[in-house]
Amino acid sequence: MSSFFRMPSDLQHSYLGLVAWHLQLALVPVLLGLLIALPIGQLCIRFRWLYAPMLGVTTVLYAIPSLAFFVVLIDWTGQSDTTVMIPLTIYTLVILVPAIIDGVRSVPPETHAAATAMGFGAARRYFQIDLPIAVPAIVAGLRVATVSSISLVSVGALIGDQGALGNLLEDATQYHRPILAWSSVITTAVLAILIDGLLVLARRLLTPWAAR
């Protein structure tokens, strides 16, 4: 059992070190994705015609294999965390942009009208009314984006030891230690479930007002 947690020295990380690194590679792109998706979503709501082309672009980007991204990016950003995080960030957009748009559109029209009629300016209405009411839909998007991101980090192994827990897969074959593969797969799955649970908890705390 101890070999489940004992990492080969070439990885230069303890088990927990790998877990922390994995989380960093997976979650920073989700946060960046959210920050980029919010204004894009708002633009798509303002200018309805933007939504279809925007969705097309994000979908096409999602269809580009990560390996292709790495090949292009490695000239610029080298064999680094950044090279892994840029494609992951782009991938989250295809989930987060529609989630935000659906969320803001889920604000009942009479609530929106009431806010306007009561003298909320556009910015205040967005931050105090639209966005908070969109939280359940946004969190739903974040859950999918996060889980997908956690599993996708492993591909970083393709550019040489940039896959965190994914690096264990290569070592498993190299050192004939299948337990390392198990360690990689099971730990990734457990991380995904835990983070997903945290997001559900966060949504409950953030939205005590949602009917259950």
């Binding site: 009942p108 009479e110 609530t111 929106h112 009208a113 009431a114 806010a115 306007t116 009629a117 009561m118 003298g119 909320f120 300016g121 009314i129 908070p132 009411i133 939280v135 939205t207 005590p208 007002w209 949602a210 009917a211």
Partner: protein, 463 residues
């Protein structure tokens, strides 16, 4: 200070309006049910006069939502905009707080063009109530109500205590303060909507079909509550509905709009029901406008008889002594005097105990002829039962007697020369602005003297 300034700013001309409105209110007998709101308003009470001046709204596609609409919305009263869907009533309402901008014409509030004020400041000075309440689902009830005070920069504690005060005013249990909107019934949510609109004590309230989405019983309760609150606060309320019954129940003035946003008639409800301007208005009022008009006649003058009322434990002899020649029936009450049902007098004297349901009773001296007539029509015996505030039967009256009272009331109304055509209607059509000279003013007060007598005959919305 603000209010005093605004009042002063109205100048001489608007004094005439105040005077005229007051006269009008008295003539229509409103004072009996409302405090005379127009000039005896309590200290610090805000009211405002809205003028819609030849306003047109055309959309790019070419549809005309509102067509050269001119309306003088009196301050301190409830003005109802009513009409079928597509008549531009909501558009009109939304132009008042600039959620929609008119294509032509202008709207003034107390003589000032509404475009001269910053839009959000204007909106914060107008309470807004909407169908389905439109509460903020993510905010508690007390936070919802405190919204506008917070926008106006009140500190949290003051806004909260104001919100709690308003919950009480609209009849909400303070225990609901920390709840979220989804935990409330539709009727309660709508009360929160009203409280939220009242929170910053705006002089104007805009209400867009606020009670359309709740069931009839709750709606009746909300209407009564609105009238009660209005009698205390005297706001200038513009109320949109498609329900003509609601319009005539709550409106001091009713504007009937037709498709395409044209004004069909602008009149107090009693006049609307008695003298619809054209076929469209008549159709819109429906087949029972004659019956509905009876709401404006009091049943106080009805001659009641207490003779055929017997207690449940009466003897055969007692029952026989109370029989009327006009009807074989007697009304049986419990020992407290509350009605139980009708019975054939002779049969009951002979020992028959079965009772005939009496439908519903009406309150003697308070309800309208409409309620009395309905009670008589519902009763299988053709007699209506009048009760006192404690529910004890005080007398009964036959359909025939009510019919005679209706004829008398109509005759009295017809005899009063100007009754049913109050100055407001004429004034609104001819003088949209507050520019009236002192002379016409005197004239209208002179007229009101004659009208007071007539209004006693029943130009009173009996609610």
């Amino acid at each position: 200070m603000r209010i005093a300034g605004r009042r002063a700013g109205l100048g001489l001309g608007s004094g005439a309006i105040y005077e005229r409105m007051n006269v009008d209110g008295a003539a229509r007998g409103l004072g009996k049910w409302y405090r005379p709101r127009f000039c005896h308003a309590p200290e610090g009470l805000c009211t405002a006069l809205i003028l819609i001046d030849a306003v047109t709204k055309r959309y790019p596609g070419g549809t005309t939502a509102v067509d050269r609409l001119t309306l003088e919305i009196p301050d301190g009263g409830i003005t109802v905009l009513v009409g079928p869907s597509g008549c531009g009533k909501t558009t009109t309402l939304r132009m008042i707080n600039r959620m929609i901008d008119p294509t032509e014409g202008r709207i003034t509030l107390d003589g000032q063009d509404i475009r001269d004020r910053p839009v959000n400041a204007l909106r914060r000075s107008m309470g807004y109530v909407i169908q389905h309440a439109g509460l903020f689902p993510h905010r508690t009830i007390v936070e919802n109500i405190a919204t506008v005070p917070r926008l106006l920069g009140w500190d949290r504690r003051k806004a909260r205590s104001r919100a709690m005060e308003l919950m009480e005013r609209v009849g909400l249990d303070p225990a609901l303060a920390k709840r979220y909107p989804y935990q409330l019934s539709g009727g309660q949510q709508q009360r929160v909507g009203v409280a939220r609109a009242l929170a910053a004590d705006p002089p104007v309230m805009l209400m867009d079909e606020p009670f359309s989405a709740v069931d009839p019983i709750v709606r009746k309760g909300l209407q009564d509550e609105l009238l009660r609150i209005q009698s205390e606060l005297g706001k200038t309320i513009v109320f949109v509905t498609h329900d003509i019954d609601e319009a005539t129940t709550i409106g001091d003035m009713v504007a009937v709009l037709r498709k395409g946003g044209k004004l069909a008639q602008y009149a107090p409800p009693a006049e609307l029901l008695s003298a619809p301007a054209d076929e469209f208005v008549e159709d819109f009022l429906g087949l029972d406008r004659g019956i509905r008009r009876l709401s404006f006649f009091t049943a106080a003058g009805l001659e009641l008889t207490a003779k055929p009322i017997v207690a449940v434990d009466s003897t055969a002899e007692q029952i026989n002594a109370r029989l009327l020649p006009q009807t074989p029936y007697v009304l049986v009450t419990d020992t407290e005097g509350r009605p139980l049902g009708w019975a054939d007098g002779k049969a009951r004297a002979a020992g028959e105990t079965r009772l005939i349901a009496f439908g519903h009773s009406f309150r003697a001296g308070r309800d309208s002829l409409r309620a009395a007539l309905d009670s008589a029509v519902l009763s299988p015996t053709g007699w209506a039962v009048a009760v006192d505030p404690d529910g004890r039967a005080v007398g009964v009256v036959a359909q025939e007697t009510i019919a005679a009272a209706i004829r008398t009331a109509h005759a009295e109304r017809a005899a009063a020369p100007t009754a049913g055509v109050p100055a407001t209607a004429a004034g609104a059509a001819t003088a949209p602005g507050p520019q009236r000279d002192g002379r016409s003013d005197e004239k209208s007060s002179g007229r009101s003297g004659d009208k007071d007598g007539a209004s006693a005959a029943g130009d009173v919305p009996v609610r």
